[in-house]
């Protein structure tokens, strides 16, 4: 999917608002108390970083690193530091979730289309696809990666949150101490509080009423990430199947909350916790409580 490489900057009351599209999500940047040129410089840096990460890790782009890996058909690949870090991180998440989270589970999307319709795949379909799923089937010895034929990796579960944190780092280099809220499709991070100490207000969309805010979180500093099924789901026989699949079974997680929002120090940490909690289904809240972070469920 091609995102239009254009970012717009407008002035709103007491802050700048930058908007663009990246990683298939609406992205916005709110910049507190800065002269116009600095705001433009920051927006350019953030949008460039978002597009860079999208280009590098999108499974749809033929020139992306991920696509090359997915087409490697059993060949050994050398990956760079950033990619290696993401692979290591993904491996840790697979371990922490006992296999429920797995970046090789992308092939399962051939069986599931979460468009609000009622198509549900057969167990046979899933069993066939599961042959190509499993981190244990990958040979990963940094910096060498080898996938079996038919396997694919997909950083969709962690890419956006990582991009937010990475962009926040860039802003810190350009304008240290500046309060800048980065929001990539609901994954948010703020490094410093605003000058007048007022918090940024972040609306969390209601899982039942699209477009309406279920709650507003006042974020002074830190990160928020939300995981939910409000827009992507399958509805069949009175059961709502969220789009989050358990990589071990190929089926969506059952009895998970409709939406989980976590507040944590970094966007990656927040996003990881929402994903791991969702994968726990009914016990999502147990994991969230044990982790000690603030969270909100719907």
């Amino acid at each position: 999917m091609n995102s239009s490489c254009a970012a717009t900057l407008t002035r709103d009351a007491d802050h700048w608002v930058g908007r663009f599209v990246a990683m298939a999500s609406p992205c916005e940047v709110l910049i507190d108390h800065a002269p116009g040129e600095l705001a433009q410089q920051i927006l350019d840096a953030i949008s460039s970083e978002a597009w860079r990460i999208e280009r590098k890790y999108s499974r749809y782009r033929t020139d992306s690193v991920v696509n090359r890996i997915n087409e490697s058909a059993g060949q050994e690949m050398v990956v760079d530091d950033e990619c290696a870090n993401l692979l290591d991180f993904a491996a840790t998440l697979t371990r922490l979730s006992e296999g429920a989270f797995d970046i090789t589970s992308g092939v399962l999307r051939k069986a599931w289309t979460f468009d609000g319709g009622d198509r549900v795949p057969s167990q046979q379909q899933l069993d066939e696809l599961l042959q190509a799923v499993g981190w244990h089937r990958i040979e990963w010895q940094r910096p060498l990666l080898k996938l079996r034929a038919g396997m694919q990796i997909d950083f969709g579960g962690i890419g956006k949150e990582y991009a937010v944190d990475s962009a926040a780092d860039l802003v810190e280099n350009i304008a240290p101490g500046l309060s800048c809220l980065i929001n990539f499709g609901g994954d948010v991070a703020v490094r410093h509080p605003r000058q007048d100490s007022k918090p940024w207000r972040v609306g969390i969309e209601s899982s039942t009423r699209i477009g309406a805010a279920a709650r507003v979180v006042q974020l002074s500093r830190g990160a928020l990430a939300t995981s939910g099924d409000s827009r992507r789901f399958v509805f069949r026989a009175g059961q709502r199947y969220s789009h989050i699949l358990d990589a071990r079974t190929g089926w969506p997680v059952r009895n998970a909350p409709h939406s989980i929002t976590v507040a944590a120090d970094s966007c990656t940490q927040a996003g990881t916790l929402t994903t791991l909690a969702m994968l726990k289904g009914r016990d999502a809240e147990v994991l969230l409580k044990a982790s000690g972070v603030q969270y909100w469920l719907q």
């Binding site: 147990v286 044990a290 000690g292």
Partner: protein
């Protein structure tokens, strides 16, 4: 009226190890809360208060109605 001895063996339990904050996963479950159904408890207390001579225990004596 018999007196209830106030020195309770339970005071010894105060020295119990307890759990670390990160071990509270099971205790965090809503059904593990001692007050997970306050409305049910209030209703039960009210029914038993009106049919029996004892009340309270879990919380204050309750009552406050002409039913006893």
């Amino acid at each position: 009226m018999k007196k209830i001895p106030l020195c309770l063996v339970l005071l010894g339990l105060a020295g119990c190890a307890g759990v670390q904050p990160w071990e509270r996963d099971v205790l965090a479950r809503p059904e593990m809360s001692l007050d997970d159904s306050p409305l049910d408890a209030a209703i039960d207390d009210h029914i038993y208060f009106s049919k029996e001579a004892s009340s309270g225990g879990r919380g204050f004596g309750g009552g406050g109605c002409g039913c006893n």
